[in-house]
């Protein structure tokens, strides 16, 4: 009898601990994200411009590695790198976390950024980004 009670108690504790951990789990971000695919800035934008539905199916929620040239760097609180494309009106906007160091890149640097693709407004927007070694 005691053994059964003890086992149940252990299970309840383990379960509670698991639920507590799961409930408080923070979204994965930056460095810890595993890339799903790799693409150039131009191709990523073109795919969205040509067929947004198809591009959504291909890229939404995926961790995308984009390579391209930096055109703008925004420091706190907007922590972002903007990667230019062949289209002067549209770019790839990469949002970084609070730990972003704007001095780690310079304008016109060719960079590789990985982040979660959230879609296309006038630009393609990636969030939770991390800079990759070129």
């Amino acid at each position: 009898m005691k053994k059964v009670l003890f086992t149940i108690l252990a299970l309840v504790l383990a379960g509670s601990f698991y639920f507590y951990r799961e409930y408080n789990r923070a979204p994965e971000s930056g460095e810890s994200l595993k890339s799903d695919l790799s693409v150039s800035a131009n191709k990523l934008l073109e795919d969205f411009e040509n067929d947004e539905s198809a591009a959504n199916a291909m890229y939404l929620d995926k961790i995308v590695e984009v390579s391209g040239k930096v055109s703008v760097i925004n420091s706190k609180p907007k922590n972002a790198i903007i990667i230019e494309t062949a289209n002067p009106m549209s770019s790839i906007i990469c949002e970084f976390g609070d730990d972003f160091n704007p001095n780690s890149v310079k304008i016109n640097d060719v960079v590789k950024v990985k982040g979660k693709c959230t879609g296309y407004l006038m630009d393609v927007v990636l969030i939770r980004c991390a800079l990759l070694d070129k």
Binding site: E22, N24, R25, N74, T118, G119, V125
Partner: protein
């Protein structure tokens, strides 16, 4: 000769368009925050990558946000929000398109209160809404702010009864944009 004439006319039109009063202001860092406050728990999320365009002469305002760019502190909330409530893979954007009142003098510094009346589309459902807007213009720096409520029911956002107590019926939405650029 005819080519010259046409070129001159086109040049004239282009110059005129440049001097006309068709001002447009925009930002790609419109901040959209929302809060659901209940006795059980508070849920908040923030999106820093919204688009906002204001056509001053037409008094039209358009805003758009990508649902997947809302960030939560807890992964579970973010996942439920995207997969179950807003179904963001099916409806990746929320949009507003409307007309602003004429209380705002876009060329003069000042604090202005007005409203924007138009269509708000969330989760694929469009509703006619009137949203309060405040505009602050100081030294050519334009800031726009708005606070309004969104009823989940109005946009067919289904909250399962299991978590009915955890999510407010009306979500408080807050829009903020600063340093709008000229288009």
């Amino acid at each position: 000769m005819k080519v010259c004439k046409y070129l001159l006319i086109i040049a004239g039109i282009v110059c005129f368009a440049g001097f006309s009063n068709a001002q447009k202001f925009y930002t790609k860092t419109l901040q959209v925050e929302f809060k659901s406050e209940t006795a059980v728990e508070n849920i908040e999320a923030i999106n820093n990558k919204g688009n906002l365009v204001i056509d001053v002469s037409a008094r039209r305002v358009q805003a758009a946000v990508l649902i997947k760019a809302f960030k939560f502190e807890k992964a579970l909330m973010e996942e439920h929000f995207n997969e179950n409530y807003l179904e963001s893979s099916v409806y990746p954007k929320a949009k507003f398109s409307g007309v602003i009142g004429d209380e705002i003098d876009w060329n003069s510094d000042g604090e202005y209160s007005s409203t924007a009346k138009g269509q708000l589309t969330i989760h694929g459902v469009t509703q006619e809404v009137v949203i309060p807007i405040s505009v602050n213009i100081a030294n050519s720096n334009i800031a726009v702010h708005s606070d309004f409520g969104v009823r989940c029911e109005d946009y067919k956002i289904k909250i399962p009864s299991v978590v009915g107590e955890n999510i407010a019926e009306t979500i408080n939405v807050s829009l903020h944009a600063e340093a709008l650029s000229s288009l």
